[in-house]
Amino acid sequence: MAGGEAAQVASPLLEARGISKYFGAITALTDVNFHVAHGEVLGVVGDNGAGKSTLMKILSGLFAPSEGQLFFEGRPVTFSGPKQARELGIEMVYQDFALAGNMAIYENIYLGREPGKKFGPLTLIDHAEAKRMAAEHLERLHIAVKSVEQNTEDLSGGQRQAVAIARATAFQAKLVIMDEPTAALAIKEVGKVLDLIKSLKHHGVAVIIISHRMDDIFYCCDRVMALYQGTNFAEAPLDATHRNEVIGWIMGTKGHTEALAHDRLQ
């Protein structure tokens, strides 16, 4: 796979070309183009209704784009559902964590992909193996919990988010998409979760973060992209931009300066 190696370096992990999405007469996205490199953390910002969640649903396989094409590792891909996206290594972390509170941490991590003997559609779960794998995986990510047998409803918001991230990365994920990863957290837990997101990079995982919080974006992203009225409006590496410029993009203006900042009294 010498050629494959070269191709991998040349092509980004995920690329979107000319993505549009219509819901009847409503246009949610028009001609969105962007890419994420291997191990890169991309921040996606935008106002409510700018098309962030529609775009994420397309990337995670929940919606099919009306126009345009996704490329994963250089190859064109079409998803018929989230399952297919997951098989390629694209995982989603939901704002509300999407955990079953009545079940143990380890069961949540392997829900739908339980280790064990397969008998047709049924898996005879190897609970001991699942616990062992979960404990190992959590340790790799430096996530501390009392026991993998704890129910997730007994965890704090930050711990739940950590478990959700652990679930997303349990099976060689290449890209993790996070929807407002800190929105449901107590302030004191935000830092821990952001550090965890940063650490995914060291495991070679690319991350797309959708967030309203500039602090999150500027803390852990490599690059930031703004959506405005359904299209990709502007983007820049983090060290080539600043907070006020990005806030300007969200509102649809370029060249936003300190003097024009919305939170300053003139």
Binding site: A98, G101, M103, G112, I125, D154
Partner: protein
């Protein structure tokens, strides 16, 4: 308290109900040892509650998904008369044994399809519909008259018992063995297989199940088919015990089954409960009725007491949830 020792808390949460059964038995044994502890009385409790136990096991699976199945009583009645008619018509007995579960599977499938394809807002609606449809069919095929005279092999599971050296009619009922096999099988399915865990996940958070790639609709259809199958089997037991299929059989038993599941500690909000708890719930209702009977308390008071037990059991569930969220 909960959380200080998660294993102990989990254990008490799941099995504390068994202690209630033991305490009830001790109390009755103390009050009326000469009647309650007699082998034929204990045999009787087990025999009388075997079909309720099967209904409750099926209902439990549905309640774990935060659903409800009101049609199990009618399904049981329909299964009972259908197998009685088949038996009378001279259908070979091994096939007659299959009639009950088959009818249950069909009704359950209809329930599941109604819920997932028609997108009816709540299983209450769909199963209220099939409650009436199955009961109507039961009257239609029997003209409202009981069908009696079953083949001995068909009656076996509902009627037979193994003496074990005890004076008849005491002994180990065959129906108890069937209940035990079903309970162990269900426990294994719910705890050790992926689909069993998916059923719990759907009860805990259907969205979590969906995004984990679980086909929630498919699992729900199977859940209602399992419940129906158990209802059909319970029809087989009752037909055997009474040697007939009577069209009024099972009216209102869906509520007993729901009560037993809830008393047994399963949460009405889904995702919580154990097979052992369900069996304990059935026994609590059975022992309560038996205890009141042997103490000559009228049947009317029994009903009032069972109503109170249901309220107390659910109140305990509410308290438990509050304790869990409060930390």
């Amino acid at each position: 308290m909960p959380g200080s020792n998660p294993r102990l808390a989990k254990f008490l949460d799941s099995y504390g109900i068994v202690l209630v059964v033991v305490v009830m038995m001790l109390v009755l044994a103390a009050i009326k040892p000469e009647i309650f502890l007699k082998a034929d009385n204990l045999t009787n409790i087990l025999k009388q509650n075997a079909s309720l136990a099967l209904l409750a096991l099926g209902m439990f699976v549905v309640i774990v998904t935060a659903g409800i199945d009101l049609s199990v009583g009618s399904t049981m009645g329909l299964a009972m008369v259908a197998l009685a008619i088949a038996s009378r018509a001279g259908v070979p007995w091994p096939l007659v044994l299959l009639v009950g579960p088959a009818i249950g599977l069909i009704v359950g499938w209809v329930n599941g399809i109604g819920l997932t394809w028609l997108r009816l807002p709540h299983p209450f609606i769909m199963t209220l519909g099939t409650l009436n449809i199955a009961r109507g069919l039961t009257y239609l095929i029997t003209n409202g008259a009981p069908v009696s005279g079953l083949q001995p092999e068909v009656r076996y599971l509902g009627q037979a018992y193994y003496g074990l050296g005890l004076a008849p009619p005491a002994g180990l009922p065959a129906s108890l063995i069937l209940v035990a096999i079903c309970a162990i099988g269900l426990w294994f399915f719910l705890n050790k297989t992926s689909m069993g865990r998916h059923i719990f996940a759907i009860g805990g958070n259907p969205q979590a199940a969906r995004v984990s790639g679980i086909n929630v609709d498919k699992v729900l259809v199977i859940v209602y088919m399992i419940c129906g199958c158990f209802a059909g089997l319970s029809g087989l037991l009752l037909a055997g015990r009474t040697d007939s299929g009577f069209p009024n059989a099972g009216i209102g038993v869906e509520l007993d089954a729901i009560a037993a599941v809830i008393i047994g500690g399963a949460s009405f909000f889904g995702g919580r409960g154990t097979v052992l708890g369900v069996l304990a719930g059935v026994l609590i209702m059975g022992i309560l009725r038996n205890g009141l009977n042997i103490n000559n308390v009228s049947a009317f008071w029994q009903q009032i007491l069972i109503g109170m037990v249901i309220i107390i059991a659910v109140y305990i569930d509410v308290l438990r949830r509050q304790a869990a969220t409060r930390h």
